[in-house]
Amino acid sequence: MKRLINLVVNGESHEVAVSPEQTLLEVLREELGLTGTKKGCNQGECGACTVLVDGKPVSSCLVLAVSVNGKSVSTIEGLSQDGRLHPLQEAFVKYGAIQCGFCTPGMLLAAKYLLENRPKPSEQEIKEAINGNICRCTGYVKIVEAISAVAQGAAL
């Protein structure tokens, strides 16, 4: 039995009919066509599906869509504004923090949450913030560099 819920995704309101077992990840990808949020393991272990719900990072594969009714969801598609990349996106591009790119959306949202709540994080704090996000390509070096650069206000 499907239920109507209201999701505010990247500032835009959507009315979606969802079944009780559907996850937020499935609704974003399959119902709303927002495929920037990736399915890496579907078990909450890799971080590729990280989105922000009411500003906080969650693994969207572990969140039931019905539980997000009325809440605000930020996905990677909403990170750039008016065609301008977010400073984190610019830094990820410039510093070579993106290889295959499959972990990138989740990584960027985890970093966004960090900087919004801790504008000047230490390297340790950066590492803690993205510890739940696995990357198999980069060895993390350039991801940490990119986040540090934004935190330190480096010209990009």
């Binding site: 920037g36 272990e45 990677i76 510093y95 290889q99 295959c100 790119g101 990357c135 060895g139 350039k142």
Partner: protein
């Protein structure tokens, strides 16, 4: 030989774009979520496929009942062996069927498949299929599988040995008799999983007239068509492969049975079908690394001169053959181009086991052998009383040497990488002033940039550079970007060679209907083979642009040049026109046909002779030295990698940011293998098929990584460059093992080096 860091290269560069820190071509679309992977694609009317996999490691299939599954509403097709073309095939050995015929050989083998309107229905239908099995005696390790009387997995190979590789040079027995030091030991490189972030996926569509389109995250988009055509009983021309963005591969994403199942379901239903592995399926039935045990002996003179190497290898193939034979033979002899050893013997066997089939993973057998050789060299250095770095320099290959197997090493930066890494690490100081429980270890590696033996019909690459009326250029080629930054380097090389602006060059996604036959991403070949073809295409485009400009302005070609998208007159460098003006002039004069540069690169590599094994498989050879600095907690056995230094002979730095990324990624993947990763398999069943139980390195598991480069400017490399993908991982496990020995005096000879193994060894040492 020149040693430069990236900054110096930039200052000295005679190039416009080569050597600059260039972000990946597709990084922006990946950063916004716009980049589409196979898993993201949805076609109108698309169905979803699921595979019923064997729960038994070895069993006869008595009967399969699909009646209930077929009756489930929403199910559009259910297939078993009898619905397939029933043709034996395989990338190297014809021991595959698309669906199991009368028996299964590993847990996860494909038995039946379903296409349905959604994934839930497909999953439910799979559960409704009844299969009656009769379990057969099974065998799980290569050691057991070669015992007389062991259960036979493939009747065509009565002793379970899939392939046997033997090679001998010089007089090994005599060298061992005359040696001052003979040292030998056993080593084990375990089975690990590539853990790319996008699991295996496929979308297939049939036009109802026998033509298939496959969307694949493939490393070998053109080559897969050859084995897939055979399996389906059609011609390669009937298969079109489109490769969208790929979420990592590391060797795994080559031929994969689910692609063929998807193709059959699409043909049966007349609708597009998508199959995506769950992460658990990917762990249990992916293409993990070939596990290998080694019995290795080395002979030395007392001054450290290497006299002989004698290697026995036993490798696990799993239940059917992917690339195991080539990987096992690589482990037997690729490493013989690292040090000058006149007397060599290798005897390797690859053995069927009732476990998941094993395949390519960054390093392709050489990574396994490097763990054994570089560990044993360290042990030998100790015995000989020779400094480990010195011992390696003493035996290293030099420019212009030919290995005993015929491999011509045009340039070798091995000794320079040893020097650069030891300097960066403060090696001598740290060796002299040892701190308790801290240690430092070094390991070297060699690798290829291409593998002439991998695909017999040809070696080389080709590219087409099409310059349109606005000066925009599209590079069309068949090699496979899988996240490593290859397209970025290709765009740089094309721009440099043609005289275009980098931002004007776009690299087309691979589509086998349009592009050349590219062999793809394996053997660290993309930069060198594909790169040479791209340069050739760029030069051809430039030649045509200059000819056009010459006739436009009535100036001899020799008096014209193109740089950064501008045609100028020499020697005064006066601007004559933009490339756009010249290219549009060409196009409109030619009935709308764009100016097109064609580039072909056929290297002078030599296929190894099947009997003598003499050959020369790569145009250039790569070298590297890694140093790990670790701290070992003797209470818990935990190892912390404090610092890691990697120096690579890359021939020529093309894109520093891409190179660093490859090395950093390779090092961390290697650290995972060295210290954490293991596919724990009990009775053929993977016990830890999730990221929670199979831990790969997270950001907090790594220390500081220092990367540096040696430029040997190899005359056969594109602008002098060599490959980087695999050498970045090869030496990591041995560097870590050697550092742990230096720290606490225990030698761990089997991977991964877990705290349990260290504690057990420490306890043993204390008792002595």
């Amino acid at each position: 030989m020149r040693l430069r860091d990236c900054k110096e290269v930039l200052e000295m560069s005679e190039f416009n774009i080569i050597g600059k820190r260039v972000p990946q071509k597709d990084a922006v679309e990946k950063s916004t979520g716009a980049a589409q992977y196979v898993t993201d694609l949805k076609l109108p009317g698309m169905l979803y496929g699921k595979i019923l996999r064997s729960p038994y490691p070895h069993a006869s299939i008595l009967c399969i009942d699909t009646t209930r599954a077929k009756r489930l509403p929403g199910v559009k097709s259910v297939i078993t062996f009898s619905d397939t073309p029933q043709i034996k095939f395989g990338p190297l050995v014809d021991d595959w069927y698309i669906l199991a015929k009368d028996k299964v050989r590993f847990i996860g083998e494909e038995v039946a498949a379903v296409a349905a309107v959604d994934e839930d229905t497909a999953r439910e239908a799979i559960e409704l299929i009844r299969v009656e099995y009769e379990e057969l005696p099974a065998v799980f390790t290569p050691g057991e599988a070669i015992q007389p009387g062991a259960p036979i997995i493939n009747p065509e190979y009565p002793n379970n040995v899939v392939s046997h590789f033997k090679v001998e040079r010089g007089d090994v027995e005599q060298a061992f008799r005359e040696a001052d030091l003979v040292i030998g030991d056993e080593f084990y490189a375990n089975q690990v999983y590539q853990a790319y972030m996008e699991s295996m996926a496929c979308i297939a569509q049939s036009d109802g007239r026998g033509h298939l389109t496959l969307w694949l995250p493939s490393q070998v988009p053109s080559k897969t068509r050859m084995s897939y055509a055979k399996a389906l009983g059609i011609q390669p021309r009937d298969i079109r492969v489109i490769r969208p963005h790929v979420g990592g591969g590391f060797g795994a994403k080559m031929e994969y049975d689910a692609d063929l199942i998807c193709a059959l379901l699409a043909t049966n239903t007349g609708r597009p079908v998508k199959i995506v592995n769950t992460r658990m399926e990917d762990f249990e039935a992916g293409n993990p690394r070939v596990p290998m045990s080694f019995d290795l002996r080395l002979a030395f003179k007392k001054d450290g001169t290497l006299l002989a190497k004698d290697l026995k290898a036993l490798a696990g193939n799993g239940g059917r053959t992917v690339y195991g034979p080539a990987i096992m033979s690589t482990a037997c002899y690729r490493i013989d181009s690292l040090y000058r050893i006149p007397n060599l013997r290798a005897d390797g066997r690859l053995v069927y086991t009732n476990t998941v089939p094993t395949a390519c993973f960054r390093g392709f057998g050489n990574a396994q052998a490097t763990f054994a050789l570089e560990s044993l060299l360290d042990m030998a250095a100790h015995e000989l009383g020779i400094e480990p770095a010195e011992l390696r320099i003493k035996n290293s290959f030099n420019n212009g040497d030919t290995s005993p197997h015929g491999w011509f090493i045009s340039t070798s930066g091995l000794a320079d990488t040893i020097e650069q890494a030891t300097q960066a690490a403060g090696w001598n100081d740290k060796k002299r002033n040892k701190t308790t429980r801290r240690g430092i270890g070094l390991a070297c590696t060699n690798h290829v940039s291409g593998n002439r033996g991998f695909y017999r019909p040809f070696d080389g690459s080709s590219a087409i550079l099409r310059v349109g009326e606005s000066g925009q250029a599209v590079l069309i080629q068949g090699e496979a970007e899988i996240g490593q930054g290859q397209n970025t380097v290709y765009a740089m090389l094309a721009a440099e060679a043609a005289g275009l602006r980098y931002e004007d060059v776009t690299v087309a996604q691979v589509d086998t209907l349009i592009g050349p036959f590219g062999l793809g991403s394996f053997a660290s070949r993309g930069t060198v083979l594909g790169g040479q073809a791209v340069i050739a295409a760029g030069k051809d485009a430039k030649r045509k642009l200059l000819a056009e400009a010459s006739s436009m302005f009535n100036i001899p070609v020799e008096k014209l040049d193109i740089r950064e998208g501008v045609v100028c007159r020499l020697p005064e460098q006066t601007k004559m026109a933009t490339v756009a003006e010249v290219a549009s002039h060409y196009m409109f004069r030619q009935g709308g046909c764009p100016l097109t540069g064609e580039g072909v690169y056929v290297p002078d590599t030599v296929v190894p002779d099947p009997v003598t094994k003499i050959g020369n498989i790569s145009p250039v050879y790569c070298f590297a030295t890694h140093i790990a600095e670790v701290e070992v907690d003797t209470e818990t056995g935990q190892v912390k990698v404090l610092n890691y230094f990697a120096s690579h002979d890359v021939g020529k730095i093309l894109n520093p940011v891409g190179l660093e990324g490859q090395v950093e990624g390779g090092v961390v993947q290697g650290l995972g293998w060295a210290l954490m990763e293991d596919m724990v398999t009990v009775n053929g069943k993977v016990q830890n098929p999730t990221f929670l139980d199979y831990r790969i390195p997270g950001v907090r598991d790594i220390g500081k990584i220092h990367v540096s480069f040696v430029e040997t400017n190899d005359p056969k490399g594109p602008y002098g460059a060599k490959g980087i993908g695999e050498p970045a991982l090869n030496p990591v496990t041995a560097a870590v093992a050697n550092a742990i020995y230096d720290a606490v005096g225990v030698r761990i000879k089997s991977l991964p080096i877990t705290p349990e193994k260290i504690l057990a060894a420490l306890e043993h040492t204390c008792m002595l």
